[in-house]
């Protein structure tokens, strides 16, 4: 027999309404929240592009097939992936859809009076009864008032209720979550974030081209970058002589805002960024830039200046590349800078302390094509030596010169560089406010007990109560109440 499936005729509107009800149910919100928790896991175990790009490219190198597959599912960019966004956008909608109607409902409910006293009080919790003395209702009224219950009095019975703060707190908690999400979205639309590596002594003009990397929200306008010019005056790093661990980083800058002529001096430290309105400037990292002068065989300067090197270990052994594209043929140096020179067991140069007590620059010189015109972007810290020839190797102290076929390079000394992060995060105060309200709401909802207490007085007095969510403590409270009524307290 052909059994037809019975589907109620919903129609498009009915279906939509049904879907909306499902989406905005508490259960769906919770499932989405948990899903968000589960979806967050892979990003903490798999290296992420935004946090550890090196590890990601290493993964691509060691197992390209698998990595490409993983990349298709955005596993290297979990928190920006479509599926992760989908979960929190749905959660966002679900929260809104569920919390607003409940808020209105709660607003009405909190002004309504408690319901009538039930007929059969003996079916309720903590029931007790005793012969009436006559003044119980009066006493009860006073007790409820003192304990700030809301009461409904009818036919020699009082129905009292307390603990609305639980639902109020709960709603505030959920509304606060929405505020946090709004703050985050606001920042990602209107915010900006950029980084720049600057040598001590350099000047930073806050325009897009000054940044090494810069990203901004869809609705951020270029012209909105705060107008300032900053000079890196001095950077000081203090290290512990026993453990070699850094103890303090102090950056001194001179700042000129907008079109002002006057300038101000500021100190930036790791935990105290420089604040300019909603923009903040953070000290993120630091390192060394060897200062070199490269001359051609005729003695003309082909290149000069500090070149930032990237730290490789805790003692700041740093590596980098010095490229001289104007030489003919082109020359490049693969370099390693050690702030305090020491020798490893294998004989290689290592750094034994992060401060520059005995700096050395180790260079291998290469001649040939630097590949700068090949079209593929090149790291400034590395040289592709595949079409070059090694022409020499040398370890230099400050002031020393390395002469090779076609020219000479002088190691003049070093300066330090700092990596500054400049962030405009206009939504963060909303997120913070949301977080504070969330905690307060949570406290109110977790520690308020919603309960009702009834009393009916006639020949006998009857008292009983009901605790919502089986909240503890009702029995004790009613015992107190009864004692009060009997004049024992």
């Amino acid at each position: 027999m052909n059994q037809e499936l019975q589907i109620p005729e919903l129609g498009a509107i009915g279906l939509l309404r049904y879907a909306w009800r499902q989406l905005t149910s508490m259960r769906t919100a919770l499932i989405l929240l948990m899903l968000l928790g589960v979806a967050a896991i892979p990003g903490s175990l798999i290296p992420q592009r935004t946090q550890n790009p090196m590890a990601v490219s290493a993964a691509f190198k060691s197992s390209p097939g698998l990595s490409r597959m993983m990349d298709r599912f955005s596993l290297f960019d979990v928190y920006g992936s479509p599926w992760f966004s989908a979960i929190y956008i749905l959660l966002f909608i679900s929260l809104i859809g569920c919390v607003f109607p409940r808020t209105i409902e709660h607003f009405h409910a909190s002004r309504a009076l408690p319901p009538n006293t039930p007929k059969n009080l003996n079916r309720m919790e903590s029931y007790s009864t005793w012969p009436a003395a006559g003044n119980e209702l009066e006493l009860a009224r006073a007790w409820f008032k003192k304990n700030r219950f809301r009461v409904l009095e009818k036919d020699s019975s009082i129905s009292a209720e307390k603990g609305f703060l639980r639902e109020t707190g709960n709603l505030f908690f959920h509304l606060a979550l929405i505020l946090i999400l709004l703050g985050i979205s606001f920042s990602s639309l209107f915010g900006m974030r950029g980084e720049a590596i600057l040598n001590v002594g350099e000047r930073f003009v806050n325009t897009p081209t000054s940044y090494d990397s810069l990203s901004y929200g869809k609705l951020f306008k270029d012209g909105k970058l705060v107008n300032f010019i900053m000079t890196i005056d001095k950077f000081e790093a203090k290290y512990n002589v026993v453990t070699n661990a850094p103890e303090d980083y102090i950056l001194n800058v001179t700042l000129r805002r907008g079109d002002l002529v006057t300038s101000e001096k500021h100190v930036i430290k790791v935990n105290s960024p420089l604040t300019l309105g909603s923009t903040k400037i953070y000290l993120q990292a630091n390192g060394y830039s060897p200062v070199v002068t490269v001359r051609d065989s005729a003695g003309n300067v082909a290149m000069q200046g500090p070149i930032p090197f990237l730290p490789q270990d805790a003692n700041l052994r740093s590596t980098g590349a010095i490229k001289v594209p104007d030489a003919d043929p082109q020359v490049g140096f693969v370099g390693s800078f050690v702030p305090t020179y020491g020798r490893s067991k294998g004989g290689g140069a290592v750094s034994v302390f992060p401060d520059a007590l005995d700096p050395r620059l180790l260079l291998s010189a290469w001649s040939g094509d630097l590949g700068l015109d090949s079209g593929t972007p090149q790291s400034v810290y590395r040289i592709d030596t595949s079409s070059m020839k090694e022409i020499g190797l040398k370890s230099l102290k400050p002031g020393e010169i390395f002469t090779y076929a076609g020219g000479a390079i002088t190691f003049e000394g070093y300066v330090q560089w700092v990596n500054l992060q400049i962030v405009d995060d206009p939504g963060k105060n909303y997120a913070l406010l949301g977080a504070i309200v969330a905690i307060l709401g949570l406290l109110a909802s977790l520690f308020t007990r919603r309960r009702r207490i009834w009393i009916r007085a006639g020949e006998v007095v009857e008292v009983a109560g009901l605790a919502k969510n089986a909240a503890p403590g009702l029995e004790e409270e009613i015992a107190n109440f009864v004692q009060y009524l009997k004049g024992e307290k």
Partner: protein, 297 residues
Amino acid sequence: MSRTWAFLSNYLIYSAMAVYTLSFFAHAVETAWAVKIPDEAAPKTLDYKRTEKVARIATAMMILGFLLLLAGVIARGVSAGRVPWGNMYEFSITGALAFSGAYLAALRKYDLRWLGLLVSTAVLLTLGTAVAVLYRPSAPLVPALKSTWLVIHVSAAIISGGVFLLANTIAAAYLYLDSMESKGERTAWAKRLPSLEYLDQLSYRLVAFVFPLWTFAVIAGAIWAESAWGRYWGWDPKETWAFITWVAYAAYLHARVTIGWRGRRAAWLCLFAGSTFLFNYIYVNIWGTGKHTYSGL
């Protein structure tokens, strides 16, 4: 001067371990005596007097151990001229302190002495690992940790952790007793332990009590991250797992309050949530990458 304080701290922590060991043995003796049926003629009734004295000694040792550990943690802080939360050794000794403190605080209100055996074992294991594996000489803080938020964020997180783990221990005891009951009767020793319902309620109350504190710890971490790293949330592994722990405990609270989960299922969920906390502490600190690399390992 600071060397002296560091040595003093080490001695205090060794002494605390010795005292916790005594407490462990006293609890073990108490348990063993209680498990042994004292009188063939009257099986399954217990000689409470005999065990009572040992139990008191056990708790007294637990208190003394706590005080020594507290002094050790403070001395460690004095030696470095800062709060003693700069590396994983220090997190661990403070965590052990918070855990045994949570136990002692709960003991004042609830019938929990029987849990002392598990608590002293856990504290000894934590301290042992800290001393043997995680120890690092006392040193000043790295610049990123120099902030008032260190005090606020880490103390909130450590206290939450101590209470979460206590709730976990109770949930584990629940599951153990529950499986014992489902096979038949409780053994003589287990009969003295509180009812399943009591344990169920107790672990729930502990979680409900610290959940807001944990929420606060996560938010304080975000505020600090904003001032140290330029963003308040970056899905760093530590942050991610703090969030996962938060979601797991929120699920636990919801499951109890709105779906009405009790007993075994709730206990498993509680254990799961607690294990995400431990995972964050152990795995992410030691093997994880990211900005929270202060373990000093």
